[in-house]
Amino acid sequence: MATRIHIAAPPITGRANVGGSLVLHVLFAGGIALFAYTHHFFGHSWGDNNQNIGAIQASMVNAIPLPSTAPPTDNVLATDNPSQTPAPLTPAATTAPKPDEVLIPTKTKPPTKIAEHTTPSILHPQTVAPSNRIPAGEAPGMRIAVSTVSLATGTSSMSVPAGDFGARYAYYVNGINHTVAGQWWQQEPDPRASDGRSVTLIFDVLRDGTPTNVRVEKSSGSPTLDASAKHALQRVDGFGGLPDTYRGDRITVEYQFDYHRPQ
């Protein structure tokens, strides 16, 4: 008799399948979220440490110290570096002369005699510039009455032609020079047309320090350079009153602007 075994599998319903799947998915997603959450707060993340939260700190090095290529040695006194102590001097080997040997004397060359040069040099006629200095006594504190200022785009120099104003009041001349130089706007001259050129202005400084009567003494040939020099004088309100001990009512100033193209 055939035995019939009936294996009854539990009925699988669609609803239970979906429900279980959902529970498993939720648990799985929840686990990931919990892990991420706890790891976020208690673990370390890339490029992050407690001192620099929110920024990556990179330490740049230009060389990595590699291990030495020298083979290891068991000698504890061995060193890669040679000793700084110099080697002891060894005396040069000398051979003692034989008893019957006749030494050959060393010949020394007598010094060469050189006759003294007695030919007189040719004297050319010399012209001595006339001097108006008083020969009695010295003139201490001689000053050069020319002041020069170095600028980024050249130099400016000036002199006061008349009298000894520049020698006596060098500080005032210096003040004029720097005031004008400070008002020279070096972007005004055309760099190519003005390179290496210079313009000379002449102007008067009145008793109250006001510059006046500005005229071009020697043009540079570059209209923009000439104009920039005149503009510099126009921007100056004044140099301050002439020195109290100066008795004149004005001084005349020559001012030279040398332009060099900025590098």
Binding site: P140, A167, A170, Y171, G175, H178, W185
Partner: protein, 456 residues
């Protein structure tokens, strides 16, 4: 420059907050693009002259005279040292002698090493009849024939303040002689806002931070002090019952004088250098715009008409024909200049967050506060910059000050700039040379802001 929409929406509020000096916690919502690194330099005008300030000789040995002598010496030394045109001989290198008169002066001692001075200031100080009498000379040590450059005598009532004043006067005379005709600033003053007494009031101090005293007592918030060119009137913005208005304090009368309230929020007044016009920003029409009126606030005319806030006007003091101001018409606040009739508008900055312009006395430069890399996480901070107007080249003057730098103001000689440095917890007033060197603090207490240098 790329700007995000939130920045546009928030800018009017941000501008108002910035003007009220509350911008420390502004949201950083935009990032400025990088621009070319072009640098220029400013010249302080004169190469440094090596000068020695000999200790003045007291003509009496009592404590009063000696005290005034030390005060005078220290003030004169400090004035010459901060003038920006001198290389001052260290007091330890000066000869031991203390010449009080030209007869006692041995020039060779000062021109030789180690002093190597080209100029030497010396003199005597005495207290007679309740007055401090000072005789001061300036000698050119290289000119042994006629070394005298300056000889002055001063007599003021015997007090610390007057003794300091004599030293300031003598220093200014020296600077005028040796500085190419530019007057010194030792007698100038700085007006600023201080919350020292609890309320933000206007205070005044000497240019070196001494003699600070309160000017206004309005028991409210006062901002943006601007002294008139003649020094007689002080204009500022003040919060009253009808909002923010421009108000004027008479320094001669010692009281407030009338200035019309025109409605809206009125801030940041600015005097023209002839003292006849005053420019300020007003939101009477709803949008902050620049208005110009006469010295009494009448005959107002509006010179900007673009949507977006226009604030912080300053005049070109050289010509009074141009105005620089801050405008937010393109988003973040930028620096602009225009003619005083509103034409010929030029934008000067190309990005970042620019505020608080100040025009140099010679008209050549604009100083302003600028956060070049404005935005979240952007490097750097707000610093003081100077721009050459003709070329739009600029130079950064402050670095690593440990706080926001703002509200620069030029000294009348154009060689110094005073500004505020705000660390977030405290703000103080600092001064420096116009090339960024010689920086030192003028105020203590951390409650001082918005400095304005007097015109003379």
């Amino acid at each position: 420059m790329t700007l995000h929409t939130p920045a546009r929406r928030q800018w009017p509020l941000l501008a108002a907050l910035a003007l009220l000096a509350l911008a420390t916690a502004l949201p950083r919502t935009a990032r400025a693009q990088d621009d070319d690194h072009v640098f220029t330099s400013t010249s302080t005008g004169v190469d440094r002259i090596r000068i020695a300030a000999a200790g003045f000789k007291p003509l009496a040995t009592d404590a009063t005279t000696t005290g005034y002598k030390h005060l005078f010496d220290n003030t004169l030394y400090s004035d010459l040292n901060s003038a920006g045109i001198f290389d001052l001989v260290s007091q330890s290198l000066a000869p031991m002698a203390t010449p009080g008169t030209p007869a006692e002066m041995v020039v060779a001692q000062w021109s030789a090493a180690p002093a190597n001075a080209a100029m030497v200031a010396f003199g005597s100080l005495n207290v007679t009849g309740g007055n401090v009498v000072v005789n001061g000379w300036l000698y050119d040590t290289k000119n042994t024939v006629d070394p005298k450059v300056l000889g002055q005598q001063y007599s003021e009532p015997a007090s610390d303040e007057d003794t300091r004043h004599i030293a300031h006067e003598f220093a200014d005379e020296i600077i005028l002689r040796l500085g190419g005709g530019l007057p010194g600033i030792a007698e100038t003053h700085i007006f600023y806002v201080s919350a020292h007494g609890g309320n933000k009031e206007i205070w005044e101090m000497d240019y070196d931070g001494q003699s600070a005293h309160q000017i206004t007592h309005l028991d409210t918030i006062t901002l943006s002090p601007r002294i008139s060119p003649d020094g007689n009137r002080l204009a500022f913005a003040s919060l009253g019952h009808d909002g923010w208005n421009i108000r004027v304090f008479s320094m001669l009368l010692g009281r407030m004088v009338s200035f019309p309230a025109i409605g809206g929020t009125n801030l940041s007044p600015a005097w023209s250098s002839d003292g006849r016009s005053i420019a300020f920003s007003s939101s009477r029409s709803g949008d902050p715009e620049i208005y110009i009126g006469d010295e009494a606030g009448n005959n107002l005319r509006r010179v900007t008409a673009y949507r977006g806030p226009d604030v912080s006007p300053v005049w070109n003091p050289r010509t009074n024909s141009q105005i620089a101001w801050i405008s937010g018409r393109t988003g973040l606040p930028q620096l602009y200049i225009m003619d005083s009739d509103g034409t010929n508008v030029q934008r000067m900055t190309d990005g970042g967050y620019a505020t608080s312009p100040s025009w140099s006395p010679n008209g050549q430069f604009l100083a302003f506060a600028w956060d070049r890399k404005y935005g979240p996480g952007a490097p750097g901070g707000q610093d003081i910059y100077v721009m050459e107007i003709a070329t739009k080249r600029w130079i950064q003057l402050t670095h690593d000050t440990g706080g926001r730098c703002d509200f620069p103001s030029w000294s009348p000689d154009g060689r110094h700039i005073v500004f505020e440095s705000d660390s977030g917890k405290s703000s103080d007033i600092w001064t420096m040379l116009a090339d960024g060197t010689g920086r030192h603090k003028l105020t203590v207490g951390g409650t001082s802001t918005m400095p304005n240098w007097s015109w003379k």
